[in-house]
Symmetry: C2
Subunit: 307 residues, 2 copies
Amino acid sequence: MSILAIDFGGTRTRAAWFSSDLRLLARAETATLAHEAQEAVITRVLATARQVVPAGQTPRAVGICAPGPQAYTGLILHAPTLPGWHKVPLAQRVSAAFNAPAYMENDANLAALAEYHQGAARGANPAVYLTVSTGIGGGAIINGELFTGWRGLAIEPGHLKFPLPDGQIVSLEALASGTAIGRAARDRLAGTGVPSALRSLPAVDGKAVGEAAQRGDALALEVIHEAGRWLGLGLVSVIHLFNPQVIVIGGSVALLGDLIFNPARQVIADYVTDPAFNDPSLLRVAQLGDDVCLIGAALYAEGKTPS
Amino acid sequence: MSILAIDFGGTRTRAAWFSSDLRLLARAETATLAHEAQEAVITRVLATARQVVPAGQTPRAVGICAPGPQAYTGLILHAPTLPGWHKVPLAQRVSAAFNAPAYMENDANLAALAEYHQGAARGANPAVYLTVSTGIGGGAIINGELFTGWRGLAIEPGHLKFPLPDGQIVSLEALASGTAIGRAARDRLAGTGVPSALRSLPAVDGKAVGEAAQRGDALALEVIHEAGRWLGLGLVSVIHLFNPQVIVIGGSVALLGDLIFNPARQVIADYVTDPAFNDPSLLRVAQLGDDVCLIGAALYAEGKTPS
């Protein structure tokens, strides 16, 4: 029997229908419109999912990918991209709508599971996944199993903390995410007279900085280089604690490729205590693109239910 | 059948005989004298171990605790406290001498195993152990099993890296170990005219600073407070990545108690992203004292062999 997967994000909601051997057979997508009334949003999620379920069929199980470290409880809570949502029993609503068991987990955790089974971390032990996008999240697979820690909160690399020269202690997320890249560029534009194509834009965010960097804009390149160095320093912590075989980096910032990876690689090479920690194939780009959470949700639901 | 345990350290070598239900029945100890010829040192290790083996008995297995992240290979290599030792097959020598299988692992890993089974982290999942002494080492137990990472190098919290205000990037070990505490005190004594009982000592090391702090010496207290804050910042990384149920701190610096723990606790409380990461009983002092590695080695050997 088949698996239904739902990727419920702050911006987009996706759904897919998977065969019993986990091939993706049908896909649907809609805007989440998270600012609307909760009931309207949930109705839209269920409608999107119904689009992919073949007439007359019931899924064996439903996997749901959702933001927030405590998604595993089946409730939406503490999700920064869904600020008005508190203890909303999304998994229960989905389960009732599709008459099937529903299993919900954090998006970065399920992305880790997907990259481990079908992507860039296939078979690696341990496999660590980082998503670098608006924020920074993560997941890890140890001995083939999702590692979630005591209360399901493990692998939050965005909250690694570093002291700045002025004495402030800040999160990696505030130094290396897309949001941080946008802010750093705006600070430089305001603080210096350095010429930059970014000056002609009405608004400068991480995406604009990335595009300018890819066209060779010096200020944008410098900002991304600096973010890459911080990312590398965060990875040095991950490496010395987990000794991962593979670290996969996904999320929109990873699309910058070597612009962000090269400075990260340099910091890793400079600061690991022994080259044995730093295999040439340690750091890899995510392979599964926008489907990563759907695939992870399907794998997760499949692992929870006997076939 | 019984288990022989050997704790081979850079300074002391200990051996113990354990009953089949892992009660410690006999113990022997000697100075390692690591500067002597390798063969003399190994002969002394074997002689110390023989002292605890009852006449006519053969151990079912031997557990060996040794320094260096790659002790699990059975070879001594890359151990900073045994600098002249390269690829010395200690496990093999022990196995031949006692006609029993011998299993060697890193000292901090085996201490983690011991505190998990019999000490301050009993039953915790995940359980993380840090030893803060001359250096800083660590181990973790996940789902009841020793977590060692890809190449056996996992949990090296001493190598977490932090940027200093001057731009240097340094290891936690250089900020919060006993060695770091001694050096920081010497720097302050040289750099300021602040009165301190330490000025009357011929040499100032971490131990002397700890003793002065316990007698209320202001300079010593300040140095230890600062080390405790760095330790706390390192633990913030461990906490956000592992979401441990319990973190046990052992080693000589942990004997300073609240002098080092309170500033660490404060930094953790200030910088964890959610109080759910920071249970009141998260941080605990090690319980097993000098026997910790012997107990860990016995548990490790016992787990490797059918009874």
